[in-house]
Amino acid sequence: MTLREMVIEPVTRIEGHLAIRVLLDPDRRMVAEAYTSATMFRGFEIFLKGRQALDAQWIATRICGVCSAAHSIASAESLDMALKVSPPPLGILLRNLGQEADMIYDHTLHWFQLAGPDYSESVVRKANPGWLREAGRVKAEEASAYGYHTIYDIMAGLNPLEGRLYLKALRMGRLAREAATLILGKLPHPASVVPGGIAKNLTPGEVSAYASMLMHLIDWIKEWRAVAEDLCRFLDEKLNYVENGLREANLMSYGVYEDHEAYDGKRENMDAWAVKRWVTPGVMVNGEIKTVRLAEVNEGLTESIAHSWYGDWGKPQFSDVDGKHPWNKETLPAPDFRNWDGKYSWSTSPRWRDVAVEVGPLARMWITATAGKISEAGAGCLRFTLPKSSLPEVEVEYRAPSKPNTIERLRARAYFAAWSAYAALGDLEKLLALLKRGVRESCRQPRPPEGMSRGVGMVEAPRGGLGHWSVVDGGKIFRYQVITPTNINVSPRDGEGRPGPIEEALKGTPITEPGEISGVDVVRVVRSFDPCLACTVHVYSP
């Protein structure tokens, strides 16, 4: 058996710089081995050192221009803890509302501008022409209410820069950013999020503006969820595309969207406030929930640099966590040539108790539905209602699947946008209740403690768990470490040779292209993880 090597570089329609190397088995027409290589290094951890702790949020948010709201809130939570300040309830709700709108924008862009084109009529016509005949015959059961009669109509709607869904998503993404901007001031890179709360104070007029934008977004989400459900069901039941991106149910969620009465930013209360989030934190190994305690999720994390261009950082400083935990880590870049058997990526290999866990909307939905910590969840189901907007009320039911694959990642992303909208409605109601009681305080002044203190902000960015670990000394940053969700998903092999989640998901993925292999199945797997996407103007071919 001779394996055929294929290197895809650059992988486009994702955020940032990524190369993929796959070894294809031409006889069995499947991916035999896969390697993911992150090809850009900037070094935030290094240049954050020594800066004022209160400034860190404005620098750290600039790690990513796509999910900058999540970075600014993770950074602010990390500093809430390190600077020992508890944001007031109004400030917590405003942070949530900003992040919920941001999540809707981000998932919209991923679904329609980045991953969507791979399922569009124009790409499918080239790569899998057989699919189109089938698509024209299959009725769009749920999306017919929105004017899509067959799956073919949905695929045509996804056509880059021409399709109705593609174009609508561009504008809906902007509307969601507009709603987020109302609170965050600016997106990308929020201006108003600070440790201790948020500098923005909404006027009653702005509350109505946000609510009105949200209702328009809910209209959009109803259509999107129906389209997503029909397309995913088609890929699943009619095309049996289930082995694309398949891996074990090893998942991790940090949880997100705080409870405004529970969150106090204190490490000792971490489990209590985190479990009350709209999205439940937790780790699942082989389909079983191992923990829903955020403190345990945090303490179980380690980072390996065995296949990454970094040097060892030696003796750990804190003994209550592993030596390879981010609180102990130093970033020591050691650039070198790429060696697929040795060091081949700028990404490190984060693991939870030695397991390569996958993060993202699928992990969030699955763990929240299974853990049953909130009233809408139970027995692997999440049930909620999107109220009447200009479209009728819709009952939404999300069922956790049996195993993660590309289809389930796409499906969960659409449902998570719906869940975020539902959470935003709930938070808006709580916000109004506070305003009615005359509450105005959105921010508290942090007083940096004497000596050294530690903080962690673990929230969900659109593409999965995002952690900012800070060590503050005398009001200045002594150490700052970030593990992004893409860092986890695109991680290379670790010290024990265990592949990262995308590498695992690629292995065994069948090649469905009948003719020459362009790698469309491979990029579909990669994009289903939404590796830190950015956005879109789109390619126009005259």
């Binding site: 561009l170 108003s192 879109t536 005259p542």
Partner: protein
Amino acid sequence: MTLGRRSFLKATLAAATVSLLAGKLSLVREAFAEVKRGNLHLVWLQGAGCSGCTVSLLNTTYPDVVDVVLGILPGAGAVSIDFHPTIMAEWGEEALKALERAERGLLNPYILVVEGSIQGEPPEGKGFWCLLGSETFEERFRRLASKAVAVVAVGSCASYGGIPAAKGSVTGARGCLEVLGREWASTAGLPVVNVPGCPPSGDWFVETLAHLILAYKGVLPPPELDEVNRPAFLYRFLAHEHCPRATFFAESVFSERFGEPYCMFKLGCKGPLARCDVPERGWINGVGGCPNSGGPCIGCTEPGFPDLFEPFTEAKLPQPLLPPRLEAAIPAARRLERPLETPPSGFPYFSGAAFAAAALAAAMAGLYLRKRRREG
């Protein structure tokens, strides 16, 4: 399909109230009418950046990106985006073919847009900081710049090095101007055009692009550029001069903590040093903006950002020194074929600081115009 692309766009456009931005719209309309005669290509590279500038571009509203790229404005042609890593349909080698076409002169004319900074060689020449299709980013960038009709650095990273060039950085990150040099000129005789900001407003990019297209077609003179190669029509005034809270500054009513609605000078706002119209323009469709929503200006449009402006939250205006590498500022206009009028006020980079310092001194001396009781 119940609603075709044409009718969808038409409906959306009809719903748009364009009168507010009529000036901008007509500029863009003319620009694209000009382009109709020949396709203009865009090649958009991403170096050490975060894709924030790309997202920001999507924030433009009237016209929005769909309008611009499809050329649906009356009488307009289309702009073709031949390479953009986050959006293009192709991947891998197929994607890189667009860059090869540009290098071989098959995408003539093209504007090279750069997002993110350009990193240097790692020590000992081993490995790389940033790759673009098995080549270092800098090699690609230099080759593509040599054939471009204009090079537009979008965002502070591509303009000056920005965040990846902050103190402590190990990657040798620089902006396009520094890599190519101040004397460098595009095939159309233009120097590097900077549209800084972290990220810049999407409108700024669209307006700059429109101006460049018109200049290339000979309809307008090339845009006037300031000392750091920013289009003067966008960066003439300070954030402070555009700020809706500036009246409180004049009245010496200051916010003491975040969340209060007054001038944020005491909270460290750098509006008196940074050239930016976002406080007046808003961020998306007139919504948001930094001081508008309680966030102090942190100077993101300026050379030296972020180091020069830290600590962000301390009421301290730094000596506004240009970093050494940008000190030999030659107004770009001097090198253009057609001499441009110097604007009456010039672009005194230091005026904002002087103004702020004077005003601060006045405030400190107790020359309050009016003292307001702060609401509880």
